[in-house]
Amino acid sequence: MSDNNPYIPMPVQIAKITNEVDTNDIKTFRFTFLNKEDEEKFKYTPGQFGELSIYGKGESPIGIASSPTELGYVEFTVQRAGTIVPGLVTAALHDLDEGAQIGLRGPLGNSWPIEFLENKNIVVVGGGFAFTTLRSLINYMLYKDNRKRFGEITVVYGARNPGLLLYKDELAEWEKRDDIKTIITVDKGNETWKGREGFVPAVCKDTAPSPKDAVAVICGPPIMIKFTLPVFFELGFSKENILTSLEMRMKCGIGKCGRCNVGSQYVCKDGPVFSLAELDQLPRDF
């Protein structure tokens, strides 16, 4: 960041826009850095986020969807907010074309604890739009030099309907591989859907991953989390071995503006990744 001022965004350019869903309100933006030194400084780990910054509109904290093993760019999957609260930044971003320049601050926050995950079996559970930093983690683990550092990888990913699944091409590729077990489900299919139907908690129960040497990484809408957690407790996962990522309203992203605290922890700096055991130590204020 310029002059090491953490509030000043670095300039990035939209290199590619991918429309992820039928409803056209979730797009993946691929950014390249305008300054080579910014790219070198932007060293991130899956689970971290960045502040997308558009002058005249504001900033939005968004999880990084690409993996650090993908070089030369960084990707963010962004939903156009605004059904309840007008989302100025995400709306403006969705209206931009490839080639446009915006600002980026980051990488921010802690990350999925890679060292802790090493040599363990990883169960990734995602629901709907909250799959972005999980995709980063999966692609990181699947990277050829990294794969042997992790045990079995199981992915359970669900969306309300087939049109709302993110990263469809990648999901298809993962399904072909034999070093990752990929289970895709939708709440309700359509004429062309040949895959599984059912809610994520039920699918997790069917899949019944073993808790032995395993860590569950779970992200999704609150309702999915609520019903998925009991399944994992029943399977024998301890609270230390269930990880999730919190959301709070953020501004600075560096633990200064005092907005995103849950108890003594700033979600932007001490989080967003917490284990359930850590969350138990915090007041229910999120």
Partner: protein
């Protein structure tokens, strides 16, 4: 080194300081005194109890501009705004407020990423602490004794000032203060009796009693954690709360801010402005979810942040007992009473 000047000649001292840099000092306004940048040395007025708004604005101004830009231009054409590096003299700060700076330092200047604005402003500033006038009655709202602060504590000041009848005594505390004091040629050397008076005032400061509550920071931090879910208690103590931001804006230790883009006629500024956890939309997410929709949740956040979360995170209570929040509250909510009641639970 102890120097002195007649209080009626304070404008001469002000004029010298204005030549050397920016002078921030108390000036009289309709409602009371506030710190302001001095353009006219006659305006400096030391005849005050304490300012309405804390002096935190010297380092953390109500608005701090980050970047200026033009709408429609590219991001690389935006202009970063630098903090003026001119020396600043913050004149006439009460001991409790001086203490607040060192507490804010932990957050802005030590923990994790350093805040460049706070840090630069802090470095450029010389602090003239000013003992409370021990002959004036204590304001009923004050409780800085409870936080281990006394009316004539020089700690944290670069230069500490004590009023002696019609004179002002100035003592160099830090090397920075000593050096500056030596340069201020409107001051004269203090005599033996002044030395004695100064020392006695520091001692007598301990006897100048505000409200006192024995607060062990770890005990109160744990207590507040334990009563977090006691909705009856929080609803009761917050029932009068209007959920305005007066308490947080006058507080020397509240540091929450918003980052916003203010635009007009095609020009814009990215800046930070003071924000308050008492505002309804403080935690309103773009999804529409808001973890703190109720007044009691917000007041609970404010008090817990100061007396529990801050202790857990930074090892110190984020309050100096200056009494401003109580004095400024339109409905007389008193944080001291709330802490007192919480301790009884």
């Amino acid at each position: 080194m102890l120097k002195k000047t007649a209080i009626e000649k304070i404008s001469q001292l002000a004029a010298v300081l204005m030549e050397k840099g920016t002078l921030l000092a108390p000036v009289k306004e309709v409602a009371g005194h506030n710190f302001a940048e001095i353009n006219d040395p006659q305006k400096v007025d030391l005849n005050f109890y304490n300012t309405i708004i804390s002096p935190k604005g010297a380092f953390f101004p109500p608005k701090e501009d980050f970047i200026k830009y033009k709408i429609g231009k590219t991001i690389t054409e935006a202009e970063q705004i630098k903090v003026d590096s001119k020396p600043v003299f913050l004149f006439g700060v009460r001991p409790c407020d001086v203490k607040s700076f060192s507490i804010m330092d932990i957050h802005f200047n030590a923990a994790g990423i350093i805040d460049p604005y706070w840090s630069q402003r802090r470095k450029a500033t010389t602090i003239f602490g000013y003992a409370y006038d021990l002959n004036q009655p204590v304001d009923a709202a004050d409780f800085y004794n409870s936080l281990g602060i006394y009316a004539a504590d020089p700690e944290g000041s670069d230069i500490f000032m004590v009023k002696k009848d019609k004179d002002l005594l100035l003592k160099g505390i830090t090397p920075k203060g000593e050096e500056l004091l030596a340069q201020l040629n409107t001051l004269v050397d203090a005599g033996k009796d002044d030395e004695k008076y100064y020392e006695e005032t520091l001692k007598k400061g301990k006897e100048y009693k505000t409200r006192f509550l024995c607060i062990d920071q770890d005990v109160i931090a744990k207590k507040l954690e334990a009563v977090f879910n006691n909705n009856d208690f929080w609803t009761k103590v917050s029932s009068a709360c209007l959920s305005c931001g007066a308490c947080t804006f006058v507080c020397p230790n509240c540091y929450c801010f918003d980052i916003c883009d203010d635009t007009i006629f095609g020009k814009g500024t990215r800046r930070r402005v003071w924000d308050a956890c008492m505002f309804t939309d403080f935690t309103l997410e773009a999804s529409g979810h808001n973890p703190r929709t109720q007044v009691y949740q917000r007041l609970r956040q404010k008090i817990n942040h100061k007396y529990s979360y801050h202790v857990k995170k930074y090892g110190v209570i984020s309050c100096v007992g200056c009494g401003r929040c109580t004095r400024s509250c339109p409905v007389n909510i008193d944080i001291y009473s709330i802490v007192e009641e919480a301790l009884k639970l």
